[in-house]
Symmetry: C2
């Protein structure tokens, strides 16, 4: 076995790679073994309990106390994965996983991740691997065009995109950029005056980012939403909160609006929110972590209407776009604002390409210096499935959610808690289904000012919440499906999020039957 190196000298591989941890032939042997292991896992994943059934501390009892002194064969390690790791997994790739929002994998996304881990380049700046930077600028433009993002967010306009790990990073980076832009106008000492806005439905990532960025904890506003707007942020509520803050001598800085909230997939009205924010010179970030992917379908694109007034937009391609964890796409209209806030120029990274100003150095678009070659997996997904199949994929999940919604509607014991927008249904057992013969003491006791009617309703709701929580735990304990919950407007709702790559109609139907069975059992106990 011999090949030629760059300048024509022959390389004898058999002598080179002996005992090397990256010996190509050993890599090949073990790699094939792992592919078969994983293919078998996907064949088997449906037979495992979806939510892991182990008890806290299970693994420390099963593994040795320290690193082995001598090497162990891959066969032994894989056997331990099968026996000790798999039982401790909650199987996100199971077709019976309906919890949180999905984290979708696919063959193409997986292959892209493999290739990235194999090349293992660190594309902090252009010269450290030009292909990593350039492919990223290309795929974010491709995806941006599929989303019909305004040109001003694309490299082909004067904006640009970047692939980060998660929305938490995207929010922190844009918030830091907005903060520094504002402080350069009002003075760094005024950091304590800056106010960050979201709704009570905004992802906790916003509050965390505000804490990390040094925003005064008293200056974080989670503006209240109500059922009347399906838990979307009302521009009027935002405006009145901003006015109060300005009267108190504070400075409105940043609004995070959401397309597809975590609890109920509510959609904030981007157009009118951006208008309010514009009046105060605020930065608007649009978090479309979950639902952004669906907006590649023309019939869902309207949920993003108004995005042209925002400063930045992000979606998690690892959620509903098949790229495997992690891959958050962030687009900004003004990359220079990000770069001003996040750039560093240590001597050891100085190079001619950077000095030529003809290249993007992504280290200045994110928190970290080192970065993986994430663009490969997004490129593989876009090309392997194409626009047509990607739309078909989203639509099939929405159709399955509609199917589930229809099944819920036919059973009078249940209700849909909020209108469905995408592929997630929020439902619950109705208080009336419980007969309310022996209402349990509610956690939310009526106080003296409440009328009798309100006390009864609150007792019913409190009791209903308890029953729905019990129902969900009973369903999840079965191991046959996994769903999670939300509480909106004091109502405990069960979330049924369709989106696992392997899910099919029959899984949705089976899940609904399971819900009915467990509800029947619990309601009969409850009314005895």
């Amino acid at each position: 076995m011999a090949t030629l190196n760059f300048d024509g000298h022959e390389i004898n591989h058999s002598s080179i790679f002996n005992n090397n941890p990256l010996d190509p032939e050993e890599f090949r042997r073990q790699g094939h073994m792992m592919i078969d292991f994983l293919a078998d896992y996907f064949l088997d994943v449906e037979k495992y309990p979806v939510r892991s059934q182990v008890a806290p501390g299970y693994l420390r009892q099963r593994l040795p106390e320290s690193t082995p002194y001598n090497p162990e064969p891959i066969e032994t390690i894989l056997q331990d994965v099968q026996e000790h790791i798999i039982p401790g997994l909650t199987h996100w790739q199971s077709p019976n996983f309906f919890a949180y929002f999905q984290c979708t994998s696919s063959t193409a996304g997986f292959l892209g991740e493999m290739l990235s881990a194999g090349f293992n380049v660190v594309g902090f700046n252009w010269i450290a691997s030009p292909a990593a930077t350039e492919l990223e600028t290309i795929v974010v433009d491709w995806l941006g065009e599929m989303l019909m993002l305004p040109k001003s967010f694309l490299f082909s306009g004067n904006g640009g995109g970047v692939l980060q790990g998660t929305t938490c990073e995207a929010i922190l980076c844009t918030l830091a950029a907005a903060r520094d832009q504002m402080l350069s106008k009002i003075g760094t000492d005024n950091i304590k005056k800056l106010v960050v806005y979201g709704s009570d439905q905004t992802h906790s990532a916003l509050q965390k980012a505000a804490k990390i960025a040094g925003i005064h904890p008293k200056n974080f506003r989670a503006v209240r939403t109500t059922k009347s707007t399906s838990f979307a942020l009302s521009p009027d509520s935002l405006q009145s909160q901003i006015r109060k803050d300005i009267e108190a001598g504070l400075v409105p800085l940043f609004l995070c609006a959401t397309v597809g909230t975590t609890s109920t997939s509510a959609v904030d009205p981007l157009g009118s929110l951006c208008q309010v924010a514009k009046d105060y010179g605020m930065w608007v970030h649009v978090d479309a972590a979950y639902a952004g992917s669906a907006c590649i379908c023309p019939e869902f694109r309207h949920f993003m209407d108004g995005v042209e007034g925002a400063n930045s937009f992000s979606l998690n391609a690892h959620k509903w776009f098949l790229t495997t964890l992690d891959c958050c796409c962030l687009w900004v209209k003004d990359p220079s604002a990000l770069i001003k806030s996040l750039s560093t120029n240590p001597e050891f990274l100085r190079n001619k390409a950077t000095e030529s100003r003809q290249v993007v150095d992504y280290k200045d678009w994110q928190i970290t210096l080192s970065r993986r070659f994430r663009a490969l997996k997004l490129w593989f997904v876009l090309r392997s499935y194409g626009v047509a199949n990607l739309r078909k994929f989203m639509r099939s999940h929405v159709e399955m959610a509609k199917l589930f919604e229809g099944l819920v509607a036919m059973d009078k014991r249940f209700e849909i808690v909020v209108p469905r927008n995408f592929a997630m249904v929020c439902f619950r057992v109705l208080p009336k289904a419980m007969g309310m013969r022996k209402p349990k003491q509610s956690h939310q006791n009526g106080n003296a000012e409440n009328g009798h009617y309100k006390v009864v309703v609150e007792k019913e709701e409190g009791s209903s919440n308890e029953v729905n929580e019990k129902l969900l735990e009973s369903i999840n304990m079965s191991g046959r499906v996994f769903m999670t919950h939300a509480v909106v407007g004091n109502v405990y709702a069960i979330r049924f999020a369709v989106g696992a790559t392997l899910v099919e109609e029959r899984h949705v139907i089976m899940a609904w039957k399971l819900v009915q069975e467990h509800a029947t059992a619990i309601l009969s106990t409850n009314s005895q």
Copy 2:
């Protein structure tokens, strides 16, 4: 093909997976293809130019303008990778890569990454995949023990560790924890008084983290180091800076000390620095991103002496510990400080395991909510190679660096710029080797107060810096090796970092010959 599902029903796979993006048999076919592609890449990597030779914008000219509407076969995509991506890579896995610090891959690390991408679980809290959390707590204890970290940093003591992406995140998290701890004592409005300390050799990650965390830009101190301490931070210099700041009404907050700086792999004296910091109630973080890995060898462990006085310690297992990007191990003595600063408790994540307080929820130990199952790859590396081989691996690189150092010392035209600590040699062509017949105008002109001797020396140094920069560019342009540079004490040094997984003695010897050839050519031009 049929298997049984969790409750005993038969599943007919042939009907389930048709046209599914995660069809197991298609996954198997394409997965095997990718393994062979990568094994061949490792066989061939030596023949590619190490630093990519493409020009800015090369890729946009070669790829289509938008996402294809219809799917493309994997074979076509892989062909494009070969033709268009590989030429744009700077080959970090080449045995001739001696730049920056290495980002080492290995078969075990790669397999762990594959398994993590295949399971694709999101272990934000324990219940979302107990194995992901529990394996992480176990492997950080294993590695901590190999490093002889004090028990107080391990879960088996009352501390604990976490796997993050990079050191930038580790520093930002610990800085936020330190900041909030201090602000809870002195009041949140005093954020503008907090001061962060490093040396002028500390990684740029510290300054960036300070900016992101809202530390006043005027309150970042890069304490000057000199050649007399081999560019390590002097405790006296630190103390006198702290005293000045306290006199100015500021509050010392955070010190980042380094074991193995980026420019020259200098080691800050942890024991005495921690003593200084302790007197002022500061948080000390130890950044051992590069050199920490070597400390698993007893003969290098002394570089970490004094760590018992620090609050937190981190190393990048993706640098010199074979785990593939990214994997930063962070240990803290007081996890509750991190958690106080970084925890969020949204309703949708509420669960019984968390409420039982018997589990770790890693979302509260990091910036992001979502997180990959990184523990798998570290576990695979630890078990596949064992303590014995991992030490052998580090030692072989140190030996090769010694070999290179010896070769440099034998050629009188060169000097070693600073003493070598680990597997990196800083060297340069000496000013005297250039004959200095026609000293070029230096960038650093002597001013009127300088004596004639100093002016001459500075002119010589300036001219030497130019020659060394030219030499490095000439070497890198050849494509046969890739090295990078540092500037310390106004001296431009070429860094020769040994550590690629595939590197052998013959590559080191070849690299030195190449340096000599290019130096001869450049010196002859220069002295003409």
